[in-house]
Structure formats: C-alpha cells, structure tokens
C-alpha cells in the first residue's frame, strides 16, 4: 500500500498522442458537428433540431475525452524559502574613520551587524540568510564571527578595490538550491572604484535591474558627510620649460554650504599656481584649471592642495601629488654682441642652423661715435632692448652669451647687472666670449657680472695680449665634456693640437676657486674656463677667434667639425644637458606605495673630471612639499663604477625632493644631484576613500529598495516573498477507462440514431 500522503491534485492528459494530433481531432469533430447541423436546417421543428444537435455535440465531446485520455495527478507538494544576501564592504577604504575621530568604518559596520543579529534570527525563520564580505570579489562570511570581531575590524578591511554592482550580481547568482531572491542588503561606504566610480550609469542600472530584487543599503560613514576631496588631478607626464602647464583638478565636496575653496599647486613648498573654486550648496563637484610656467628643467614633485576644513571626515584626500618632468623643447639662447665680427658671424651661423637652439640675437651695429650720414629712418637699426632682454625676458633664456660685449655707459646696463647675476645663480647660464671690448676692457669689473664669472676681470697690463696662442688641454680639460672633440684622451689631445693658432687672447684675472681651466695657451694663459655659481654655470672664452677652428681649419684641410663639436658641447654643458651631468640620481619609481617597499634611489656619481667617483660618501636628504627643511634620509658609498643605491625610510604620502650629496673619502666635495618622487597609495581605493552615500541611494532607487538607517530593523524590511513550490512525489490515475463513459457514448449515439430514423432522416 502506498503510504505517501498527497496534498494536492490536478487533471492531466495521459494520451500518448502528440499535441498536434489531438488538436486536429478536435477540429475535425467540430467540423463534423457543424456539417450535421447544416444537414438538419430544413427541419421545421426547432425542438427536434435542438435535440439532434445536442446529442451530436455530446457524442463529439465524449469522443474527444476518449482521445485525450484524461487522468488525475496526485502531488505531494512543499514550499521553498527565499533567500536574503547580506553584503558587507571589506575594502581598504573601510579603514578610514566613520566620523571625525571616531571608529573606523569597518568597526562601525560590524557594530551595526552585531546590533542586528536578533533581526537576522527573526528573518532566518522566513528566509535563508547568506552573508558575504565583498571588495572586488565576494567571500562568504559567518555573521556571528564577524559580530564577535568588532575589535579586529581593520583586519577585515583588506580589499584592494570596491565593486558594488559586481558584488550584488555575484551574490544574486550565488544562491544554492535555486532559492528565489527576496532581497539584498549592502553595508558599505559607497566608495566604489569600479562601475560606479562616476556615479550611476546606464550599464550599471541594467545590471541592477537584472537582480529582480530590492537592494537595501546601509551607508557606512555617512554620518561624516562633511568632506572635501581632490578627486582627480590630470596633467601631462612632461612639460616644456617656459611653456604653460595646465593642471585639471576635480574637487568634490559633501556637507558644505556654498564655499569658495582656494586650490594651490605647490612645488617644493612654493605656490606656483592658485585658483578658487566654489563648491557646496548643491554643487558637489567642481573642476578647475590651474596653470603655471616651469622656469627650469628637471623632475619636480608637485602637490595640489585644498585647505582642511573643520569637521571634515578625511584630511588625507585634500591633497594630491604628481611628478612632472620639465624638459626643453629648444635651448633658448640670447646672443648679445658688442660689434659684428667674423667670430660673431660663425657663431650665429652655427646656432641658427642648430634645430635645437632658439636664437635671439642683438648686435650693436652703431656706436655714438659712428656717423651714418643718414637719418634714422634710412637705417634698419632698432634701439637696444635692454629692459626686454635683461629684465622682462631674461628668465626665459637658458643661456646668455656676451660676445665682445662691454658695459658701455650708453647702454645703461647698470640697473640690470644684479638681475643678470641672480639669473645665473638661480640656474641660468652665462658665456663671455673675448674681443677688444670683453673681459678687462668690458667695464664689468667690480660689478655683479664680475662676481659670477669664472675668471677675474681686473688685470694690471694690457687688456689684450697679441701673442698667438696654441691651445692645449689642461688635466681638467682632458675629461671635461666641453672639450671632448673626439672620444679618447690621446685622440682628443691630438685634435686640439691640430687646430690653428689663435691670434691673441684677452688678459684675465685669476681663475676663481669654483672654476676649472680647461684650455690654456702654450704659455699658460687661460683660454677656456668654466665655473658653477649657485645653480648656474658660466664660461669664459678669452678669444674672439674661435672661428679659426672652423674656417681657417677648413683651409688647412682639417674641417670645421672641431668648432661645431666644441660649441655644441659647451652649450649642452652650460644649460645642464642631463647627459652631461656628472652626478645623477634616479628614483626607482615615480610613485611609491606607502604600504609597500620604501623609496629607493639609484645614484651614479662622477667627479669633476667625469671619471667614476669610487668610494664617494653619499648622503641623501629629503624634503617634502609641506616641510621644505631637508632631513637626513639615508647614505651609501659609491662602488667602483660610481654607482650606489640608497634605500630611504618609509615615508608618509606626499611629494618629496631628495638631494644626494657626494663627498670624497677625504671630505672634498664631489657633487650634488636631486630627484623628485611621490609617495601615495597605489590604486584608487585609498586615493578616493570618501564615503559616497549617493551611490548607495542610487542603487536602492534603481532596485526599488531603500536606504537604511542604523536603527532600522531588518526583519520588518519589505523583502519580496515569492511563492516557490517544490513537488516531492506525484502519481497519475486514468479517468477514461471507466465503463460509464463508453456506455454514455453508446447511449447517446443510439438515441440520436433512433430519433433520426423516427423523424424521417436517413
């Protein structure tokens, strides 16, 4: 005996005929009944007509029942509970405080979970409860264990990124046993950095609607609604010196009334650009373009910063750092000439031909003593633009060349000389080329110009010595890049020795301490002296006949290459071409993650002779955009090849400048170089950690859910409760094989036949 207790039944067809055959049979029966009705239309008695049609319809219906083989299905049915997915944000942004000086968001979330455990128990009687942690992936979690680990909340928040839509979709699909989804509950700070990073999108809306279940969202950290953040900083990786750089800054503000926020761009603590944007009062995001003009080449760390206002949820996101490499498009040279000469002509021709040089020239073509025998309008002469060259435009030049140029009273230069010297000390370059008006004859002696030149200007004798000079390399000149005409020491010395004699030299005072003589005459008179003053470089060439190394050399079948090589090398050295820098420091990376390895600097150090400075003592000092005072940060000793690696200590997020100084073992200076880098968290999770309750609200709106308050009870939330029936056992019994059906069919057919015969139908 079958012991199963069936609690439901339904009618069914047990026929083995295909559906289309049964449909065809039904149509044929209907057609037959209609035809038979047409056959008795002429019957005058309406009663007879009705009786015959009724009998035929009844017979057709019974015949159809026989074909359908009707049966009864007995079922043992049970109802399935729907499921609720609870998602808890475990990304790193949950480490930030939920409120100023309050617990972390993760801690606040777990505290809430703990307080809602009774609600979950109540819900568990009606629903299946699945609890997950999520960041960029989904992990099942035990709510009881989580509630017991409020104190270790920071360990939970380790996820590298946040993908709320992905987590909701995964949770919806993760249910077991095909249980219907009653709803989802997500507790998060809303700091999504995946699909919702720019807010709700049509794609995200479509994905959320596919859930077909309401999402109830608990914004964590939403209490700290007041927050200002530099959300985005967009700037090119490199810029050209003296060309405007524009930084696109996106600022977001929550909980602010209409406020003017001053934004600044700082380099090494100095403000280089600033702008005020208005945020708040309905404006949650504002964009600003801050522009500045870098005045020197190199790699610099910049910081975009906004003030930290009282009551802000986070202070860390009020600034952003970036590194900008400033390069030259072309070397900008101003050539100031006291009088036209062949030396001027050949140098100008060389510089004008060089595509890497942007040459600005000014030649003195007439002096007060000259008589042009014409009116001014018949001349092409222009006034000496001293103010424009030496004041307004001075800092736009990489190199100033004075060629046979003196400080004549009628030039009125005195007011600019201090500025020119400052320009050099601050990173500019000055080259002075000889001539009858240069050096001791220049009237620059005792001025600021004198103080930056590598040679003294005071001489006791004649300002010019006519004894021809055959130049030769000094020991310093043998390795210096300015005097490297050809590779190889011997070959280079030979190349210099072959050059034509110079017809005479300017007399100069003593070579200064910070200078190096690279070329001398056979009798020791200095020909080429270079020096460093502050951050700038200077060069003194005591002849106005360097063109001999070009044209006269060409006449001697030597060719002009030496002249070109010399001047190209001199200009590159003067403007600090990185390739000619004796000491270089390079950060291992542009940006270091504060949670990863500490910053590392790779150093290559060469001495003033450009040879590897083995054994040099290296010391690194670091300063930040906030604190410009340098502090010791590491040291190392250069290896035999002059290289070294300095590992700095862990540094907090910010922009930094590292200055590495090298000293010889005996304490003598070797050189100094600097590098810029930034320390900031990698990825957007910690860069944009501000709570975004608006994102959670949008999710709730799209899914017809609700934004929760911490005090809201969970067991009263309007979860869906879809009917889902599971059939355990079923049994079918046929109805057609009952004798009564067949007997009824026979009776009806017999009655119809009998009546038809009696009423006179065939």
């Amino acid at each position: 005996m079958d012991g199963t207790s069936y609690n439901a039944w339904r009618l069914t067809s047990l026929s083995t005929l295909p559906g289309w055959a049964l449909a065809l049979a039904a149509v044929l029966l209907c057609a037959a009944i209609w035809l038979s009705f047409r056959g008795i239309r002429a019957e005058p008695s309406a009663a007879r007509r009705r009786i015959l049609v009724a009998l035929r319809v009844a017979a057709g219906a019974l015949l159809l029942v026989l074909l359908l083989e009707p049966g009864i299905e007995l079922r043992a049915e049970s109802r399935v509970r729907a499921r609720i997915a609870i998602l808890l944000d475990t990304s790193r942004s949950m480490r930030f405080p939920a409120a100023p000086n309050g617990p972390s968001r993760a801690e606040a979330m777990l505290s809430w979970l703990k307080s809602r455990l009774p609600d979950l128990s109540a819900l568990a009687s009606r629903f299946e409860i699945d609890v997950y942690g999520f960041d960029k992936e989904l992990q099942p979690q035990d709510p009881d264990k989580l509630a017991a680990a409020v104190g270790q909340a920071a360990e939970l928040a380790q996820g590298p990124s946040t993908d709320i839509v992905g987590a909701l979709s995964s949770a919806a699909a993760a249910g077991t046993g095909g249980r219907p989804l009653a709803g989802l509950l997500v507790a998060s700070d809303g700091a999504d950095n995946a699909e919702l990073v720019e807010g709700m999108t049509p794609q995200a809306t479509a994905e959320l609607q596919k859930l077909n279940a309401p999402v109830f969202a608990l914004p964590v950290g939403a209490q700290a609604l007041k927050d200002l953040a530099i959300d985005k900083v967009v700037v090119d990786d490199f810029a050209f010196v003296r060309n405007q750089v524009t930084v696109d800054v996106t600022v977001s503000a929550r909980g602010f009334s209409s406020t003017d926020v001053p934004l600044v761009v700082k380099r090494e603590g100095q403000i280089v650009a600033q702008k005020t944007v208005r945020v708040g009062g309905g404006t949650q995001r504002a964009e600003a373009k801050l522009s500045f003009v870098p005045d020197r080449t190199g790699k610099f760390a910049f910081q975009v910063a906004a003030p930290v206002y009282e009551g802000e949820a986070l202070a860390q996101n009020n600034s952003r750092s970036f590194v900008l490499k400033v390069i030259r498009d072309r070397v900008r040279v101003v050539l100031v000439v006291g009088r036209p000469s062949w030396d001027v002509r050949f140098l100008r021709q060389l510089l004008k031909r060089d595509p890497n040089v942007d040459l600005i020239s000014f030649f003195i073509l007439r002096t007060p003593g000259d008589d042009t025998r014409s009116s001014q309008d018949e001349l092409s002469l222009i006034p000496f633009p001293t103010q424009e060259i030496f004041q307004e435009q001075l800092k736009t030049f990489d190199l100033v060349i004075f060629q046979d140029f003196g400080n004549r009273p009628w030039y009125h230069l005195s007011q600019y000389l201090d500025g020119i010297a400052s320009y050099v000390r601050e990173g500019g370059a000055l080259a002075v080329i000889g001539g009858e008006q240069a050096f001791a004859a220049s009237d620059f002696g005792g001025t600021a110009i004198d103080s930056v030149l590598p040679v003294g200007l005071g001489v006791s004798g004649q300002p010019v010595e006519e004894t021809p000079a055959q130049v030769r390399l000094t020991e310093a000149g043998r390795r210096h890049p300015v005097t490297e005409l050809v590779p190889g020491l011997t070959a280079n010395e030979n190349a210099w020795a072959r050059l034509p004699q110079l017809p005479g030299l300017n007399a100069v005072g003593p070579v200064k301490d910070n200078a190096q003589t690279l070329l001398t005459a056979q009798d020791g008179r200095p020909v080429l002296v270079v020096g460093e003053v502050g951050r700038g470089r200077t060069m003194a060439l005591t002849t106005d006949a360097s063109w001999y190394w070009s044209f006269v050399a060409a006449g001697q079948e030597i060719g002009p290459r030496a002249y070109e090589t010399f001047w190209h090398g001199a200009i590159r050295w003067l403007v600090r071409d990185p390739a000619l820098t004796p000491m270089r420091v390079a950060a291992e990376k542009t940006a270091f993650d504060p949670a990863a390895e500490p910053p590392v600097l790779d150093v290559q150090v060469r001495g003033s002779d450009y040879g590897a400075a083995a054994g040099a003592q290296l010391r690194a000092q670091v300063s930040s955009a906030d604190d410009a005072s340098p502090r010791a940060a590491g040291q190392a000793v250069a290896a035999a090849d002059g290289t070294a690696r300095i590992t700095l200590p862990h540094l907090p997020p910010g922009s930094y400048k590292a200055v590495v100084t090298a000293k010889r073992p005996d304490g003598g200076d070797v050189g100094e170089a600097e590098e810029a880098f930034i320390v900031q968290p990698s990825g957007a999770e910690l860069l944009q950690p501000a709570p975004r309750p608006d994102v959670l609200r949008a999710i709730a709106d799209v899914t017809r859910g609700k934004v929760l308050d911490e005090s809201d009870r969970l067991d009263t939330l309007p979860f869906r409760d879809p009917e889902r029936v599971e059939v355990g056992q079923r049994k079918s019994r046929p109805l057609w094989d009952r004798w009564g059906v067949l007997a009824a069919l026979c009776c009806i057919v017999g009655a119809e036949w009998t009546l038809r015969r009696r009423w006179g139908y065939a």
Binding site: P340, S341, W342, R345, T372, E378, L379, P463, E466
Partner: protein
Amino acid sequence: MRWSRRTLLRAAVAAGLSWPLRARAFGDASRLVFAQLRHGGRWDPRPDGLPRLAWEVAKRTSIETSPVVRALSAADPDLFRHPFVVLSSDVAVPTMADAEVGALRRYLSYGGFLLVDDASAQSGGPFEMSARELLARIVPAGKLTRVPREHVLYKSFYLLDGPTGRSVTRPDVEGIDVGGRLAVLYSPNDLVGAFARDSLGSWELEVVPGGEGQREKAIRLGVNLAMYTLCLDYKEDQVHIPFIMRRRRI
C-alpha cells in the same frame, strides 16, 4: 696737377689720421679685412676702392675694419683667414687651374664670401662672360640668380631700394646661395669703382648717371654688404621686422 713730396706726405698723414682708429689688439682676426683675389688678368682695377669702403664701414658702423687689402691667389692658404674676397677686373678673367677652382669651392662652402665686381660695367662683356664661366666651375650646383629686393642685403644696415654702382648697367645684382646664405654676389655695375678715392680724397671715377647721390647709394650698398657678411640674416629676426616695415612705409 703736380705732386710735390711734401704734398704727398701731408696727404698720407691726413689719410692716416682720418682713419677711424680704435684699439687694435687681436690683429686682423677680429676685423673685416677685404681680400682681393689675385688672378692672371688685371686683378686689381680699382686699387683704392676697397680701402675706401673699409674706411666708410668703420666710420659709419661699429664694425672694425682694416685699411689694408690682402691680395691673395685662390690657392693661397691665407685666403681662409679672410672670409670676404673680391674678384674683379675690367677685362676677361683668365682660366683658373682646377686646384684654384677647388680651393674657391671649398672657401665658399665653409663660409667664405665672394664679391664678383665687373669693373668694366659692360653688360655681356668679356669680364662677365669669363666670370660666369668661372662661377659655373666653382659652384657647379649653384646658379647666379637675381637677388630679390626683399633680400636682407637691402636692409642689413641701410634701408635700400636696390643696387647700384659706378654705373647702372643692370638694375639688379645676382647671387648664388650656398647653405642658406648668399655666398657669391655678382655686381655688373662696378660697385667698387664708386668707392675709389685718390690719395687727396677726390673721387677717382665719375658715377653715372646719378652723380653723387648714386655714389652715396653705392657706398651704402657696400656697407650693407659688409654688414651682411658679418651678421648674415640678423635683420630678418622677428624683433626687427616691425621697425623695418614702419620705416619702409615712411
């Protein structure tokens, strides 16, 4: 007119004192020293022309010049110490040897400047024919073409509206460009002849048809030429353009 010894001496002293002297220390290297190309023909038809041009240049501009004109053959290595050389004659220039032509080619390609001045001022004359033939050998890849009036030669110091000389045989000068600069200038109008003064300061040759006004224009062209060779296209730098355009309109 007869010249006594005393008169000659006085004239020489006067000429020396009147030279716009400045301190001379580096020698010729820093000065503009004209060189006269010595060839097999009448290579120096206007011996007083170039010294006088040097005097005018020194007097009118800041350029330091030398009164001495160097006479050098094309094959002389010293030619390369004087980047401004003048080829002149009033008769045909004899054919030069290949070595001399090669030296001049090298001279021009490395930065030298050659002024070819037809002292005969005879269009299509023997000098012009021979000079063109010689230039074709020296710069086979180049061709004498008209120097346009917009060329910086006409604004390198004075604002000029065209060339001239002792004569006005043709209204234009021609030139050959080498490496982006005017390396050869051919003057058909006896330019140097317009400068020539005798030892007493009198002009040696009459200037036709414009007289002294034309002479002054010729001197100005000479000054511009000297300025151009030392400054090249300096006056085409952007800073000068508005000034020059304004004055051109006056």
